[in-house]
Structure formats: structure tokens, C-alpha cells
Symmetry: D2
Subunit: 87 residues, 4 copies
DNA sequence: ACACAAAGTTCGCGTC
DNA sequence: GACGCGAACTTTGTGT
């Protein structure tokens, strides 16, 4: 490495720029983790109030899906279950 | 490293033994990957025959679960869905 | 269901309360998804600037780990790799 | 459903065929699970012999990758780490 | 029971 | 545009 190298140009990489990018991502990930914690807290609260967490998770998942798609999928599933005697 | 070192005792690790373990795992993983491929093939065949792959996956998942547990979970889910007007 | 039932007490579930919980989680998940999108954008920007995204991801992962733990883990790994001639 | 329906033609689905497919997959999944158990056993044995399981997992992962690709990736990573002073 | 880890599922990406 | 691959998230199991 030449004597011109410094913190801002290590081996052809603009160190400062790279660092900026990384720190931006890290900040966003921190905020994201904080939200994840918040969700965890709400779930704990839910549970403490006597709700079934797994069922609530299922509800959340269902609400994310398109109702038509979901109904369609359920219909096929039921068809197969009937065919297999899993009613 | 001392002059006593050889392929079977590198830095205090019994290289031969370690290699044996690793190769055993790799063989098992190979077989496992082969089975995974077989499953993939069956799924492709299913699909080619006109079946809905996602629904079949759901069926497989359901069949793995205890029927009582499943029924219980469904009952709770339905209760919540009714409460939320998602019927 | 008895005539006393209303939107707030469906089958013994306090519908309003349940709904509150669910909507709280959904709001948090929305914010979380927005942050995920932001991260995605930064990654795209990184990439456009010529950086290797996978390497940046690795950097981010490394920075999350305790430096001491990491060094220890690396030392063991190197030991094993030497033993196996993977140097 | 018409009076012609039987176990082999439920609602337009060839129940027997569907069942065959599902049972084939289930058999394969069983074998796969058995192998997974075997791997788990080997890992436990490894551990009992004093090896670091996590490091062994890393070795296995590294050996799956193309050596050239890996070296390339490591070079980039090192470059970035130097630029960030993480050496 | 809690946290850590492993498995499965899902989503985004690159490829053809 | 679909398909297969790889990474991320979620969920399930385990060990403390």
C-alpha cells in the first residue's frame, strides 16, 4: 500500500463512504429491532390477558392475505381433505 | 509447531478423527439432499398431474400434527375470527 | 349465543380488546416493514456505488458479534482448518 | 355429491392417486428425518469428544462452497474490514 | 420458563 | 416471465 493511503482511501475503497453506508444500515436495523421488541411486548401483554398467542399470530397472517386468494386456497384444501377422508 | 507434528496431530487436534467425523456428516448430508431431491421430484409430478402443490404441503403438515391439538387450535382460531367478524 | 351478545363480547372473547391488540401489532409491523424497505434501498444504493452487497452483509453480521467471542471462534476454526489442510 | 361418488373419486379428485402421492412424500420425509437424527447423533458424539460443534458446522459450510468463490469473497471482505479498521 | 439453536417457510434475486 | 437459488424471518424444539 502506498504512503498516500489514509482512512478515506484504503486499498481503493472509499472507507468513509463505506462506513456511512454501514452505519445507515445499522441505525435502521436498530430501529427495526426496537419495533420487534415492541411487538414482543404486545404479545406478552396479550398472553397475560389470557389470549392464545399462536392463534393471534394466525389471525395476523390471515389478515395479511388477500381474502379471495385465501378462500380459494381453503376451498382446494377442503376438497383434498374430503378426498382423503380427513374431514 | 514441534517436529513431532504430523497430519494426525495438528496443533493438538486429532486431525484424522476430526476428518472422520466431518466425512461421516457429509455422507449423511448427501443422502439427505438426495431424499430432498426425490421429494422435489414427487412434488413436480404432483403438479404436472394438476394438483395444487401448496395445498398438498398443507395436507402433509396437518397430518403430522396431533388431531386433538389441531382441533383445539382451530376452535380457538374460529372463536377469535368470530369475535373480529372475519367469518 | 344469548341476546346479550354484542360486538364487545363474542363468545366470551372481549372482541374490542382483541381487536385493539391486533391493530397495535399491525401498526408496529407496518413500521417494521417500512424500515426493511429502507434497508433494501440502502443496499441497492450501495450496490449501485460498486460495493459487494454480500460482503457488506457479512460485515454487518460481524459487527453485531462480541469481538472477543468472535476472535475465539475464529481461532478454533483456524485450528480445525489447519488440521484438515484447508489453509 | 352424486351417488356415483366413492373413495376413488371425491369431488373430482382422484383420491387414490392423491393419497399415493402423499404417502410417497411421507415415506421420503421419514427417511430424511432418520438421517437428520443420525447427523444429530454424530454431532453429539463430536461434542462428547471435545470438539466445538459450531466450528465444525462452519467447516461443513465452507467445504460446500467453491474454493475459488470462497477465496474471492474472503478477499473482498478483508478489503472492507481493512477499510473500516476491523483488522 | 427462558433463551438459544435448528428447521421450515417465505421472500427477494439472478438466471434462463 | 418463470424457475431455481440463496438469504431472512418465523416457528418449533431443546438445553439450562
Amino acid at each position: 500500500m502506498s504512503s498516500m493511503e489514509n482512512a478515506e482511501s484504503q486499498g481503493g475503497v472509499a472507507a468513509g463512504e463505506l462506513r456511512q453506508f454501514i452505519e445507515r444500515v445499522e441505525r435502521l436495523e436498530e430501529e427495526k429491532a426496537a419495533l420487534q421488541d415492541d411487538i414482543k411486548d404486545v404479545m406478552a401483554e396479550l398472553k397475560a390477558r389470557g389470549y392464545d398467542v399462536k392463534a393471534v399470530r394466525t389471525i395476523l397472517a390471515l389478515r395479511k392475505k388477500d381474502p379471495d386468494e385465501r378462500q380459494e386456497a381453503e376451498a382446494i384444501l377442503e376438497l383434498y381433505m374430503n378426498a382423503l377422508g380427513m374431514a
